[in-house]
């Protein structure tokens, strides 16, 4: 009879209200974060170029996963069309680099802006629905935009994609070196991640979690929830667009496949594997997905997807809250 609705595995209670989560062991979070950032920053110094490139792809995909987690994990909106805004940003950044300038903040800003605008134009229809309908609407929106990438030949290059995108340039020097490109992607990724992190911990982000937990109750205490969901959708689209610009910079090629369903499904997979709502978990999930698909897949004779499927099933059964839930799983065991 009494029901506390809980649609999505919960994130640790927010610090926004100033109260620490009760009965938890002190968490070594900040220290681990510093170590991870330092290791990531030093990675190109001791990794081979191919490994650096793989790591770059992981970061690009990781940022996309973080932006999707803002929708899935924080707001409770599972989207199957999120690659559309990623692709829109990638095409926009690629086009600007080809035809206008590849000077560094420009493709990034254009990509983010186009991703945000695309989300703003299509999001209002989507956020007015919920559950399975939201999933289907975002799927439809994604497919429409993928079709647009296919058929708008003069701008997108059609099925061949947008090829020969120049490397982003810093002060007139193109970042042709894989190490420099990696640092560029890492820097943008960290700034964007920090922005999403702060957003999720702000009063606004707390309200989004309230909507995820119980939208009717949020309306009853006076929050215009549709507007909030729309704002989250546009913010997520903007970050996805920025990630798209990084894809254009790294891959130097954008194809309709980057916009379509497969990419959208893979990001959603990354978020679930990593642990929705934790923000850092999906980055880990994205790394696993890229590792399996790009690094292990070729060795398995193209059966990388099969391995991904097995990983997914294992994660769902063994780690209901994703990789991010490993810590609390251990704590719970110790307590009982």
């Amino acid at each position: 009879m009494t029901e506390v609705s809980r649609r999505v595995p919960a994130a640790p209670p927010a610090g926004a209200d100033g109260s620490p989560p009760p009965r938890r062991l002190p968490r070594p979070g900040p220290a681990i974060a510093v170590v991870v950032v330092l290791v990531l920053a030093a990675a190109p110094l001791f990794l081979a170029p191919y490994a650096t490139t793989t790591l770059t792809r992981m970061l690009v995909f990781g940022l996309l996963a973080v932006s999707l987690d803002l929708l899935v994990g924080i707001t409770g909106l599972p989207s199957l069309g999120h690659a559309a805004y990623f692709g829109a940003g990638a095409y926009a950044a690629g086009w600007v680099s080809l035809h206008v300038t590849a000077a560094i903040p420009v493709p990034l800003l254009v990509g983010a802006a186009v991703g945000g605008i695309a989300a703003a134009l299509t999001g209002w229809v989507a956020v007015r629905s919920a559950g399975v309908y939201f999933l289907m609407l975002t799927l439809a929106i994604g497919e429409v935009l993928a079709q647009l990438a296919h058929s708008w030949q003069s701008v997108t290059g059609g099925a061949d994609g947008l090829a020969g995108i120049p490397a982003p340039a810093l002060g007139g020097e193109p970042l042709a070196n894989t190490g420099f490109l990696y640092w560029y992607v890492l820097a943008v990724g960290l700034v964007m991640f920090a922005a999403v992190w702060l957003l999720a911990r702000s009063p606004f982000g707390t309200a989004l979690r309230g909507i995820r937990d119980n939208e009717p109750r949020m309306r009853a205490v006076g929050y215009p929830t549709t507007l909030y969901k729309y704002a989250a959708f546009v913010a997520a689209g903007t970050v996805a667009g920025a990630a798209g610009s990084l894809l254009a910079a790294q891959q130097r090629l954008v194809t309709p496949a980057d916009v379509g369903f497969t990419t959208a499904a893979l990001v959603l997979l990354a978020v679930v594997i990593g642990g929705a709502g934790s923000l850092w978990g999906p980055v880990l999930g994205a790394a696993i997905v890229v590792l399996v698909r790009d690094a292990l897949g070729p060795g398995l004779g193209g059966h990388g997807e099969l391995l991904l499927g097995i990983v997914f099933v294992l994660v769902v059964y063994l780690l209901p809250r994703g990789a991010a839930g490993i810590g609390s799983l251990r704590v719970r065991r110790r307590r009982s």
Partner: protein, 252 residues
């Protein structure tokens, strides 16, 4: 002028007229109870008043303004607040976090997209939790609360919206007698300027708290009067119990 009123309010589901032609006027500062047998239309009327459901006919006025076309969100912003029949809270929040959520929305400031200190929100949250006897549970996650505590938190959440009119849908449902008594103390202690309209099955609580009672039967208002008038009414007795004895109804 009444704090909350409705005129000719009606809503049908297919052929069933759940609520039809209901006139109701709640005076400012009143403790107004809405009672009636099962299926009388209490919950529907409640939803029409809060704005969760749209009426087919009639109007709702809040503090003299027509709010019939406004959503529950807008009504809440104008000083109407509610608790729900089945306690409905936020599974991943702490007790303090839940109350802060509502307090923050009603500070008059915009809800900002970056973290910042909110001493006023914290202070008001503490004050509400203390008033509702939940201060020592502030850090607990909501799922760890007992049923009675959740109901208390519901009331805290409703009060956090700084309401002028408070609507409570069966606040004592599923409560033990001890919890119910505690709730009575709590509701009696509400600031007198807050108008309260509540739906309740527990008639002891109704007659202890209410200064005005409206009886609904088959979607219509059967009677509005003081608790004594309602207790004495033959029509109310028949609506509840057919022709059974009045004593059984009010002393059981």
């Amino acid at each position: 002028m009444s704090a909350l009123s409705c005129h000719g309010l009606g809503r049908s589901f297919g052929a069933l007229k759940a609520v039809s032609g209901v006139d109701l006027s709640v005076a400012p500062g009143a403790r107004h109870a809405l009672i009636g047998p099962n299926g009388a239309g209490k919950s529907t009327l409640f939803r029409l008043l809060t704005g969760t459901m749209r009426p087919d006919t009639g109007t709702v006025h809040l503090d003299g303004d027509d709010v019939t076309g406004l959503s529950e969100v807008r009504r809440c912003r104008r000083g109407m607040s509610q608790t729900l029949q089945h306690s409905s809270l936020f599974g991943s929040f702490t007790v303090a976090g839940t109350v802060a959520l509502a307090v923050r929305r009603h500070t008059g400031r915009a809800v900002r997209p970056w973290p910042h200190r909110e001493p006023d929100v914290t202070a008001r949250t503490d004050e509400l939790l203390t008033r509702l006897g939940l201060a020592d549970r502030a850090g607990e996650p909501v799922p760890a609360l007992s049923h009675g505590e959740r109901k208390q938190l519901e009331v805290a959440l409703a009060l956090a919206c700084s309401p002028a009119v408070l609507l409570l849908d069966e606040p004592a449902a599923g409560m033990s007698p001890a919890e119910s008594a505690r709730l009575l103390t709590l509701l009696t202690g509400l600031p007198p300027e807050v108008t309260v309209l509540f739906v309740e099955h527990d008639l002891d609580l109704v007659f202890d708290l209410a200064d005005r009672v409206t009886v609904l039967h088959l979607g219509r208002v059967l009677l509005t009067g003081t608790p004594d008038e309602v207790r004495a009414s033959d029509a109310v007795r028949e609506a509840y119990l057919g022709t059974a004895r009045r004593e059984e109804l009010f002393t059981g």
